[in-house]
Amino acid sequence: MSRASPGHPEYGGEKLGEAKEEREATLRVEDLHVEVEGRQILHGVNLEIKCGETHVLFGPNGSGKTTLLMAVMGFPRYKVTRGRIFLGGEDITALPPYERARRGIGIMFQRPPTVRGVSLAQMAALCSRDGVDVEKLAVDLNLGDFLSRDVNHGFSGGEIKRSELLQLLAQDPRVVLLDEPESGVDMENLQLVGRAIRKLLQKDLRRRRTRCGLIITHTGYILDYVEADVGHVLCEGTIVCSGNPREQLEGIRRYGFEECARCTR
């Protein structure tokens, strides 16, 4: 299946310059209100992730973290009732998920479905930009033997994470959305997962990063592998605190999320 990918001459009619690419890799969420099956989950979220930055999202269960990611990806179940989402300068609030993916938003699912009869190799090929060596990526992620298997079918927790990261690396998105990349992953795999995320977010590039990311984390373990610039705490559908992610994590570990909520009052 061929399709125009961002940065490709077919897309937008002209080849995008580097400066524009940088501008594009900025995610801005303005006063976002989101409803799921008639229930209001997000009550006015504001967030800006600049090019090159990695943000983490903390918050208790049910606070709306996954909803925020899903709404940014544009799934119809997550209905935006107010507010807007911008990718670079473009308002993408009304775009379907595949248009957002084609513009460079990539998401790692926490519990992706099995698609029978579609192999991981096919899946990675569907995602990938021209010239991506899926096999090499798979070997790096220790997934060489999984390429011919139906995607996610009988995969363990760690295998699912690595399979998701393989797809994302093949897609090479500008904005990377990760939903609990460390959940269900053992220590050995965590290192592999961490390394792949670093690569996705160009963490080893000192200057001129052209990617940005938003990571949901419960445990904060991922921070041992991936440096984050800003942390946000989401409580009951609003961001109650933004700041140094390590300090936030420390606070949450010591006092719990209740303290975060109280802190804002």
Binding site: M1, Y98, P112, R116, G117, L126
Partner: protein, 410 residues
């Protein structure tokens, strides 16, 4: 038993069943079809065949050049226009020729399918019929498959076919068959009796792709007998529209360790009625069977049946029916049956009918596929049954044939 006597008895039984309806599928009025069709002349080489072009044959899985095939059989309406085996150890004749040539064939004739099973089997025996006789001599193995094509040109024609396929001890026989008709045909009937005999340690794979026209009615009647250590494998694909199709092939595993596998891929277009089953009777120890079907309705009716009967202990069998409803006007009726008649049988089934999971569509959309592309990827995946035991060459061929059909059907 002498030939004359055998034939007399067969005819008698056929006459008695001439009005007997089949247990499944719409009952057809045989008097509305015609027996006459223009005689087609025989050609020594397929390439000389003028009636069918390369493309028409390709749709039926037949390679006109004969490349990559170990032999060919082509029947148009009631005429056998070509039959030739290209490799040693293989034999292809028309069934009538074979009956004249081999007295022993009467030991196989109507032994795997009962002539009085229903009015359709009876009609094949009582009317003018053709069909192929294929045989792999003991120990012969060919890499390339044999190809057979049964084609209907004449409107309202009833094509009566009686095939006999024998894989002698230790031999291997791979057959690709296409059944097709002129697309403009408003009505027509194909009655196809096929009897397969898999001898000790032999194997037959039978890959069939249907390509009928919208007005066609089709009633295949197949019986398979598998001896010790033998394997029979059927891959059956119907994706294009036709009026009604009903079949329920039955494999009898009579020797220790015999194996039967049926894979069916069914797509019912609006107005089509497909009643497709597979039955395996396991009557020797260590036999095993697998019946897998994938059914998709785009508005038509599908009955996906399966029946496994374990008659002795130590047998293992699995039945799997999955259905996908892409159009709410369609029906998928899955009827899996397990019948255990001994202790220590290991039989299971799994059936599921539903629509495409929205979650899967969204997963693919998040990777950049439009809703339409995502749906089509999922549907193709659904039909992408892993076929174990098919030689790689044949698997490629089958995929190619499926892709041809899929393009048009989905």
């Amino acid at each position: 038993m002498c030939t004359m006597h055998a034939l007399k008895e067969i005819r008698q039984r056929a006459r008695a069943a001439a009005e007997k309806p089949a247990p499944y599928g719409s009952d057809l009025d045989l008097s509305t079809y015609v027996d006459e069709a223009p005689e087609r002349s025989y050609v020594e080489s397929l390439e000389q065949l003028e009636e069918l072009g390369e493309e028409e044959l390709a749709r039926a899985g037949v390679e006109k050049s004969g490349r990559g095939r170990s032999g060919s059989f082509v029947q148009i309406d009631g005429s056998v226009v070509h039959r030739k085996a290209l490799e040693k150890g293989l034999e292809i004749l028309s069934t009538r020729e074979a009956l004249e040539k081999y007295d022993w064939l009467w030991d196989y004739y109507w032994k795997a399918v009962a002539v009085d099973a229903d009015k359709y089997t009876a009609a094949v025996e009582l009317g003018p019929f053709e069909g192929y006789f294929m045989r792999a001599l003991p120990g012969s193995r060919t890499i390339y498959p044999l190809q057979a094509c049964l084609y209907i040109r004449e409107p309202r024609f009833v094509q009566r076919v009686h095939n006999v396929v024998i894989a002698e001890e230790g031999s291997e026989l791979h057959i690709i068959t296409g059944c097709a008709s002129e697309h403009e045909i408003k009505a027509g009937l194909h009655l196809g009796v096929s009897e397969f005999y898999v001898k000790k340690g032999a194997r037959i794979t039978f890959t069939m792709v249907h390509n009928w026209a919208e007005g066609m009615d089709v009633r295949p009647r197949s019986g398979i007998v598998v001896e010790e250590g033998g394997l029979f494998m059927s891959n059956y694909v119907v994706m294009e529209p036709l009026r009604t199709l009903q079949l329920y092939p039955t494999a009898r595993l009579v020797g220790e360790g015999a194996v039967a596998r049926f894979h069916s891929i069914l797509v019912a277009q609006p107005g089509s009625e497909l009643d497709v089953g597979s039955r395996v009777i396991l009557s020797a120890p260590r036999c095993s069977a697998e019946i897998i079907s994938r059914a998709i309705t785009k508005g038509g009716y599908i009955a996906a049946r399966g029946h496994i009967r374990g008659e002795v202990g130590g047998v293992k069998a699995h039945l799997e029916c999955r259905g996908l409803i892409l159009d709410g006007r369609g029906v998928i009726h899955a009827v899996p049956e397990l019948e255990g008649r001994a202790e220590d049988v290991d039989m299971s089934h799994e059936a599921a009918v539903g629509k495409i999971a929205q979650e899967e569509v969204e997963y693919l959309m998040a990777r950049g596929l439009s809703e339409e592309e995502a749906t089509s990827t999922i549907v193709r995946g659904f039909l992408n049954v892993k076929i174990e035991g098919l030689p790689p060459l044949l698997e490629r061929e089958m995929r190619r044939m499926m892709e041809l059909s899929e393009e048009k059907a989905l």
